[in-house]
């Protein structure tokens, strides 16, 4: 570009005006903000939310206390004890302590579980008031939704 053209572009502030035009155009553009908590962006299907235990179609718990998740976990989140009742086909857990404050959401427990008992839920609201709510016992591992929120932090003031 010739020296004169460059000088004129500089004198008439062309680069400044082009920059201003960009911000003005974006001023009128559609905003992508999601107004939480009135609007909630649904997580993806594979979203790594809070891990929890699931039951099968008949309401029977899927966990057979094989402790593969405990072995796979790199951060020692699990403390499981199982027992097989006399005459029962499968072992069931009698103690299943899981610590949310140690979980790194790596997904190893989910991947190794042979019965898909423990899976990621789409729950992403995981605040607890204190350490106690973050330690889940066997029954609490099946909680979801509002019951889970009640347990963790007394329930959010604004419901989902």
């Amino acid at each position: 570009m010739s020296g004169l053209r460059r000088f004129l572009r500089s004198f008439f502030l062309v680069d400044i005006l082009r920059g201003l035009a960009v911000t003005l155009r974006l001023y009128f553009s559609r905003k992508v903000t999601v107004q939480y908590p009135e609007e909630v962006k649904e997580p993806a299907r594979r979203f790594r939310g809070l891990p929890r235990l699931y039951r099968d179609g008949n309401g029977e718990p899927l966990c057979i206390a094989c402790k593969l998740c405990q072995k796979a976990c790199g951060t020692n989140c699990f403390d499981i004890e199982g027992k097989r009742e006399a005459g029962a086909k499968l072992m069931r857990p009698v103690k299943f302590d899981w610590r949310l404050d140690r979980c790194s959401f790596c997904g190893f427990c989910v991947e190794v579980c042979p019965t898909s008992a423990i899976r990621f839920s789409p729950e992403f609201r995981m605040t607890g008031v204190g350490r106690e709510p973050l330690l889940f016992h066997l029954d609490e591992m099946y909680l979801a939704g509002d019951e889970l929120q009640e347990r963790l932090c007394g329930g959010c003031r604004r419901a989902r």
């Binding site: 680069d15 082009r18 960009v22 992508v32 993806a44 594979r46 979203f47 790594r48 790194s104």
Partner: protein
């Protein structure tokens, strides 16, 4: 006339040090005379921690090193383990890894562009860069469930396959990003204020850059054509056709320009990888428990920040004996003093931004 040297502290909490970095500056009124970085505020004992975990359990922790480009860390570690154990990776898995790594490079560079522009004062570019990055993070969320600590590249392959739906969504994102990039370029590239802040600032010559061990975009901005993806290709990068952008002066503007060009090149690579995705398995046959015979291996990759390297020594068990990580930000940070000497205090912020450091990587 005698000058009075003030020691100024850009403390661990500062809006512009990218993480908890403490810089002790010796300043003469406005001119920087010397810088001493004080590190360790984010040290978590990663390398020692890894000695007590199995090879597979280490992979999610590598996410937390360079947390803005976690898949690159995964890839670096995983390639080293595979070289050590002699595992062959199926071609489809290699191509998917390339797609993931280049998408991650896009995300990292967009975050970098936002932060650097914000430090120099152009606040809007931060938001534009992050809005573009959000689309990439949505792809990652759809692929494997996490947005930041992704853990999608595993020893032996990748965690999931890419189906046609995901491929089309990736292609949509690839067409949206250049538009955002054009906006950022219009705001910054020719802007006189930006050029005054960045051209000729923080200059480093090519020979000195090599002496300091500078790698990645700062090295390429000096004109040295060294890119691990081209020079020592890994994970089937040799199959793809892309250019390596080079700078000339080694100043802040060239580093900025090189990274923006790399964004364009990454989009090219992802397009080619998606077009030529071969059939086959996405994960190699791996034993249930990975035990590696005693040996030592070293592998490097071109992470978005520079050359990332892992050295792993194995002792026959399922846990590594020693893992050593060479992080690009740590090495690049050494040259900060050389670049900042003689410049003004305001330039320190710009130079630090152009080096693109992440404290997670530096402090491990």
């Amino acid at each position: 006339m005698a000058f009075k040297e003030i020691e100024l502290n850009m403390g661990p909490q500062h809006p512009s040090t990218h993480g908890v970095l403490r810089l002790k500056l010796a300043v003469d009124n406005e001119v920087v005379l010397g810088i001493e970085p004080v590190l360790g505020y984010l040290h978590r004992g990663m390398e020692k921690l890894w000695e007590s975990l199995t090879y597979v359990q280490v992979v999610p922790l590598t996410d937390r090193l360079d947390y803005l480009a976690s898949l690159s860390n995964n890839l670096g570690y995983v390639l080293t383990v595979e070289r050590l154990a002699g595992i062959e990776i199926p071609r489809r898995a290699q191509y998917i890894r390339v797609v993931l790594a280049e998408l991650q490079r896009l995300a990292s560079h967009l975050a970098w562009a936002g932060f650097m522009a914000n430090d120099i004062g152009a606040m809007s570019v931060l938001l534009y860069g992050f809005e573009a990055r959000e689309e990439i993070l949505d792809i990652f969320e759809e692929y494997c469930g996490a947005r930041l600590t992704i853990h999608g590249i595993r020893i032996g392959g990748v965690i999931h396959d890419i189906d046609t739906g995901l491929v089309s969504r990736i292609r949509t994102v690839l067409t949206n990003i250049p538009k955002r990039l054009a906006d950022i370029r219009t705001l910054l590239d020719e802007n006189r204020i930006w050029k005054q802040r960045t051209v000729g600032v923080g200059r480093i010559a090519a020979a000195e850059a090599i002496d300091y061990g500078l790698t990645g975009p700062p090295l390429r901005a000096c004109g040295v054509a060294w890119d691990m993806r081209k020079d020592i290709p890994y994970s089937s990068y040799g199959d793809f056709d892309f250019d390596v952008p080079l700078g000339r002066n080694g100043d802040v503007y060239d580093r900025y320009a090189v990274r923006l060009e790399e964004i364009g090149q990454s989009i090219r690579i992802v397009g080619q990888a998606l077009d030529g995705l071969p059939e086959g398995p996405f994960m190699a046959k791996m034993p249930r428990v990975l035990k590696i015979a005693p040996g030592e291996a070293f592998h490097t990759i071109e992470a978005p920040k520079g050359v990332l390297g892992f050295t792993i020594r194995s002792n026959g068990t399922d846990k590594p004996e020693r893992v050593k990580m060479k992080s690009p930000s740590f090495i690049n940070l050494q040259s900060l003093e050389h670049m900042c000497k003689g410049n003004l205090f305001s330039d320190v912020v710009g130079i630090l931004g152009s080096l693109d450091i992440v404290l997670g990587e530096i402090d491990k």
